[in-house]
């Protein structure tokens, strides 16, 4: 028995995540890399509920719950305090959903990135406002059903390129990751922990109820997202793009879409459109990997 990740859990079972929750895997793996000398702040998001109600918590690190827009600014404040108190080794992390990152939290994120605040900012991306019942966010991909983009008006806008937005701030480190590749996420976090400055980690975290997928398919979907080129997994270290999970031949997007009820309504030409969009975006990124 040779585990690829440390055995110690910094998260207890008994938490309130749905069956098969991608965000649960994301936190569990991240904690193993970050260790006990870590503090979190969450905005309103699924993890606000997952951690459990007062007087319980499933985490073994300190957590400050905060208001929706404020994640990056709150983390910056915690970090400043820890520096002022001479405890600058503790890792300070904002941990937000896609809504709290792409939309309402974008201003604070941009401010912290521009100031190069010495914090981790994690976005676990389930591609909609899941905690409030599956409403569309700026992270919802083209074609998806949500409660506010019903089938007759499915989301026509593209998923916001949050990684490009963060990259435009020239932060020292950012990466994408998938819960299907926990060792990749682990390695990136262990490396990034030693980097001073703003670090952005964008994790694709499938959501069975929101994606209308089977709970047992969460890891498979997180893998297919990468293998189809829909969610390429890479890092940008000091401006250098490196693809860390390579996809020499990409699977067709249909392999991924057909496992999710939120895409069930798509017609053949719409799937073809999605394939084209993914191909274009992937080609764009490929140039950066080679450069």
């Amino acid at each position: 028995m040779k585990p690829t990740l440390p055995l110690e859990e910094l998260m207890s079972p008994g938490h309130l995540a749905c069956q098969g929750c991608g965000a649960g895997i994301a936190m569990r793996v991240s904690l193993k890399a970050l260790g006990r000398d870590t503090m979190f702040t969450f905005p309103a998001c699924c993890w606000t509920v997952i951690d459990g109600p007062f007087p319980y918590s499933c985490l073994e690190v300190p957590l400050l719950h905060m208001a929706f827009e404020a994640t990056a600014a709150t983390a910056a404040g915690i970090k400043a305090a820890m520096n002022a108190l001479g405890k600058d080794k503790t890792t300070i992390c904002g941990w937000a959903g896609d809504g709290g990152t792409f939309d309402i939290g974008l201003q604070a994120l941009s401010g912290a990135a521009e100031r190069n605040d010495d914090i981790f900012y994690f976005c676990y991306d389930n591609e909609a406002y899941m905690n409030t019942g599956i409403q569309r966010s700026g992270a919802t991909p083209y074609g998806a059903w949500t409660t506010t983009t019903p089938v007759k008006h499915f989301k026509k806008e593209l998923k916001k390129s949050i990684d490009d937005i963060v990259a435009a701030h020239k932060v020292p480190y950012q990466a994408t990751a998938s819960v299907a590749y926990p060792e990749d996420l682990y390695k990136k976090l262990v490396k990034a922990k030693d980097i001073r400055g703003f670090k952005f980690i964008h994790i694709i975290a499938p959501c069975p109820p929101g994606w209308k997928a089977r709970p047992e398919d969460t890891v498979k979907l997180a893998r297919l997202a990468v293998q189809t080129g829909i969610f390429p997994v890479y890092e940008v270290d000091g401006g250098k793009y490196v693809q860390t999970m390579k996809t020499p031949t990409r699977k067709p997007v249909l392999d991924y879409l057909k496992l999710q009820g939120r895409f069930k309504h798509l017609k053949e030409n719409e799937v073809a459109d999605i394939q084209k969009m993914v191909d274009t975006r992937y080609a764009e990124l490929e140039k950066r990997f080679q450069g």
């Binding site: 459990g52 600014a73 400043a80 305090a81 100031r115």
Partner: protein, 383 residues
């Protein structure tokens, strides 16, 4: 050491002497000099603090909440639109029981844009759980920042120090800068028992059902009631250490007054000047300056207004559809304790000047009325 300085700089010096550890602030007229001087003080190494140049006031309060939660003494300053933008997080800071101190420069709310003074911005926040101290001099401003931390860190509720835009923020007065050593003796370092701590990890602010939420709110009210006790205690302690006394209310010639004016901010000093003028003419007038809005000093207000035959509350603010806010507060404190007629005059909105003559006119008008025949009276408005 005595120095001539503007109100904004009195705030900066107060925060410096209080040894704040994290400052997170966003510029807004007329607060900018507060943070500009603090930037210089930090850059010169005269204050060991982390200064986060946040990208909005909402983020300023978010950063203060983060910093205070981690056990650092946190400070910010703002005004008007900025304070309004922080509103959500003012509730949060109080509910999280964080002893943050903030300066608010009272500036009128827009639209239209108006950078001059009135009190609607801070008074709109009175239900958020923040203590509010209304200052009339730059000395009081500086002293209040220091006193505020002493009280907030005891009861774990936040506080705002409020001062008039331009009339105080940009007016130069003589301020006695206390010695750092004397301040250090008065105000010990912040030692937060409930700070974020990796050696004793807890989650703060988790979902709380109706079963226990209300009891946490009871605790906040109890903390504010205790704050009133502490504020009165600190008035004595501060006087012992620094020789200056600040009570929740400041009575001036009220004991034998037939008519008592109730005022706050710089208007209160103008009112005292007018009281002197009127006393010379034989009119028995007095002034009660309200320094403390929250926690509300019920007993002091009832005590000092008990002999008045008429009370005139002059508000530099208004709650639309009702009347002035200090008038609401004082009237409700008097209810059941006094049947004195209370007149509410609204003056000086958007920075319109309040002159000694303004108070003379108000008193003359009230002398002709047995009791108010209007819910509110507008002062010197063009017809």
């Amino acid at each position: 050491m005595k120095k001539v300085m503007m109100g904004n700089h009195a705030i900066s010096h107060g925060a410096t002497l209080a040894r704040v550890q994290v400052i997170a602030a966003y510029p807004i007229t007329p607060q900018t000099q507060v943070v500009e001087l603090l930037s210089e003080i930090v850059a010169d190494g005269k204050l060991k603090a982390e200064y986060i140049k946040v990208e909005s006031e909402h983020s300023a309060m978010a950063a203060c909440i983060g910093a205070s939660s981690a056990g650092a003494r946190a400070f910010t300053a703002t005004s008007s639109q900025g304070l309004a933008l922080m509103h959500e997080l003012l509730h949060w800071a109080a509910g999280a029981r964080l002893p943050i101190v903030m300066a608010d420069i009272n500036r009128a709310m827009g639209p239209p844009w108006n950078i001059w003074t009135d009190q609607n911005d801070s008074l709109s926040q009175r239900d958020t759980g923040w203590m509010q101290f209304y200052c009339q001099s730059n000395q009081e401003v500086l002293d209040s920042v220091i006193m505020a931390y002493k009280v907030t860190e005891k009861v774990l509720m936040p506080a705002m120090i409020v001062l008039d835009a331009f009339s105080l923020s940009h007016t130069y007065e003589i301020v006695d800068l206390p010695d750092q050593a004397v301040v250090d003796k008065y105000l010990p370092p912040f030692d937060f028992k409930y700070k974020l701590n990796v050696n004793d990890p807890h989650t703060y602010g988790g979902l709380t059902t109706p079963e226990w939420y209300m009891e946490f709110r009871v605790k906040m009210q109890e903390a504010m009631e205790q704050a009133l006790v502490e504020i009165k205690k600190e008035a004595v302690e501060f006087e012992k250490a620094f020789g200056r006394r600040y009570d929740p209310v400041e009575p001036y010639m009220v004991d034998d007054a037939d008519i008592v004016l109730v005022t706050s901010g710089t208007a209160a000093s103008t009112a005292r000047f007018a009281v002197d003028q009127m006393r010379k003419k034989g009119k028995k007038v007095g002034n009660l300056r309200m320094r403390l809005l929250r926690p509300f000093p019920f007993a002091d207000v009832r005590e000092h207004l008990k002999n008045a035959k008429k009370v005139i509350i002059v508000d530099r603010n208004i709650s639309y559809g009702y009347h002035g806010i200090w008038a609401q507060e004082v009237k409700s404190a008097l209810y059941g304790h006094s049947k004195v007629p209370v007149f509410n005059f609204i003056a000086g909105l958007g920075g319109r000047d309040i002159f000694p003559e303004t108070f003379v006119d108000i008193v003359n008008k009230v002398k002709k009325l047995k009791k108010p025949d209007q819910e509110l009276y507008w002062v010197e408005v063009k017809q």
